[in-house]
Symmetry: C2
Subunit: 342 residues, 2 copies
């Protein structure tokens, strides 16, 4: 059933050598036109398909690129991957997916596996929990495999990145809450060893200071990105002597939890308490009480990452390119924080 046809089979049939067949198929200029046409016709007739594995071995390029994300079943990461796939499809690259589940060990394994599989490039969102050990990343770079961080980035020489301006995202959102009249704004942060959470926090803080509001350490709560974590965080905030009247959450899920908890206590949103999230998860706009959130344009981020990869992949090795692309965040103001009239 369906014997594999090789260039040797074509060569034999035409009484020429495989070298000539290869040249004809690759549009090598030093081949007679008549021969080329004959080979092409015969190849088509015999249903020849190039063996990519042989090509990959010979060339050292697999035409695969690897993508490493904490998990794929999150709207954000799935959208980024969609963008990557769409941008790379016309160039003939296949996208290999790896998940870390926020495990450094898994991240390192994935990096090594991808290098071993000789992918032509790696795009990833790092798993943050601080590890001093960059050896897996260095291993990638030593092998001259282009490495690109998206969203969650790290400072490593030779690595390009595509991120959004998280500082600005935090700033804009906080400023918006201030403009709505909020006086005591809390913040849900994530693991600040990750730049994204650090910068959202810094943007938040700066917006407070620039607008004459006091920054209170007790208003900053470190939460996981989950509904339950959001509930618990609000619970803690409301126990304070002077509880806040708004929260800017680095996570939409935590923001949702906050809203659910506030509603269960009959605290009116946005009248008594405003809530804003981050990531613009689909549900934020679907809710009846739609949730204000910062869009990270994941699709664009994926496409941009792919473009950066394409730029790097064919450059001569001599010049080390390191490109930092920063996308603009976009604040979507919705009911959860809009006190003033629509």
């Amino acid at each position: 059933m369906s014997e594999k046809v090789t260039i040797y089979d074509i060569a034999e049939k035409l009484n020429i050598t495989a070298a000539t067949v290869s040249r004809a198929l690759n549009n090598n200029p030093k081949i007679k036109e008549a021969t080329r046409e004959l080979v092409l016709k015969t190849a088509a007739a015999m249903n020849y398909k190039q063996n990519k594995l042989a090509l990959a071995l010979k060339s050292g390029r697999s035409n695969n690129i690897g993508v490493i994300v904490p998990r794929i079943d999150s709207n954000f990461f799935a959208s980024v991957i969609r963008g990557i796939e769409e941008e790379l499809y016309p160039h003939g690259y296949q996208v290999i997916i790896c998940q870390t589940h926020e495990s450094i060990k898994r991240e390192n394994e994935n990096l090594h596996t991808l290098v071993d599989a000789q992918v032509d490039g790696i795009m990833m969102s790092v798993t943050g929990i601080s590890d001093e050990n960059d050896s897996a990343f260095r291993h990638v770079l030593e092998k001259n495999v282009p490495l690109i961080f998206f969203d969650r980035s790290k400072h490593i020489d030779g690595v390009s990145s595509v991120t959004i301006n998280d500082f600005k995202g935090g700033y804009l959102t906080t400023k918006h809450l201030i403009d709505e009249g909020c006086k005591a704004i809390a913040h849900f942060s994530g693991d600040q060893s990750l730049d994204i959470f650090k910068n959202r926090f810094l943007g938040y803080k700066q917006a407070l200071l620039d607008n004459g509001l006091e920054f209170k350490e007790e208003y900053v709560i470190y939460t996981k990105s989950s509904v339950d974590a959001g509930k618990e965080a609000v619970d803690n905030l409301l126990k304070l002597d002077t509880p806040p009247d708004a929260v800017f959450s680095s996570s939409d899920f935590a923001a949702l939890g906050a809203i659910q908890e506030l509603q269960s206590r009959n605290i009116s949103i946005p009248k008594e308490f405003c809530v804003a999230g981050f990531s613009n998860e689909p549900f934020t706009k679907f809710m009846e009480l739609s949730i204000t959130s910062v869009d990270q344009s994941p699709l664009e981020m994926g496409k941009m990452s792919a473009r950066v990869f394409l730029e790097q992949v064919d450059k001569t090795d001599t010049i080390k390119i390191e490109k930092k692309v920063v996308l603009a965040p976009e604040l979507h103001i919705r009911k959860s924080s809009k006190k003033t009239n629509f």
Copy 2:
């Protein structure tokens, strides 16, 4: 920078041949224990890494599997892929992602590309729009590449599938609406050339008949899976002489659209009108008016697909295996359809 170490380098250093090195590394029983240890030690010292591409060429197996989905940025498909990846990770397979965007042309291209890349198996959710041309699928089977359909399946000899019992899902949901006292239940369906939509419809119809309700053609509306489509569909239903008092939607998004449209008309849910969806998208449980929906256990579906693949991949070619796994749907009853007390 980081020369690639091959078995020839190891052989040279130890004054033996590459064959011996290969055997030692592969735990071939006919190698002297001392030699094996020496090779292993040397390989480790030299930081040897097996070249997967060479192995793939020699063995004809790439250790990659392909997954084709309409789009990746849907919670359902992303979760299935997550399941596949997690199940296959311990077995050393890498997962290649392809999107069709519901285009048959793209689907066929992807199938050919994956076969050309010599993946060891393909798992996919078909793009339904009726095409009589099964040649791409047959091409896969001729090459002896295990092919597994999940969720959206097709009847093709030699192809295994993992689906849920959509008929039952439709039946259960409709029965539930009847039990809540609904007398005139409408249905939003999708492209019925896809079994999933056909079967949900049939389950719906059967539940009506089994419970003495009239089946009305005019209550069945074919919609896209989008919020706007749901709004429009409800709009049309309400124009009928005897408008329905409930809808079972094959899409959560259309169900959401229905709810939004009903609410904008001040029709009370679930008191005057009940709504149920399908897929158990995350937002259905997040809404204040949470939406009744059928869970398809996508994670389990992915894992199961992977397991079916693993069963098939090593079987001798002589026996043709064709496994049909049908998972049970699970109805999640929520506020949008729960008239009676909680």
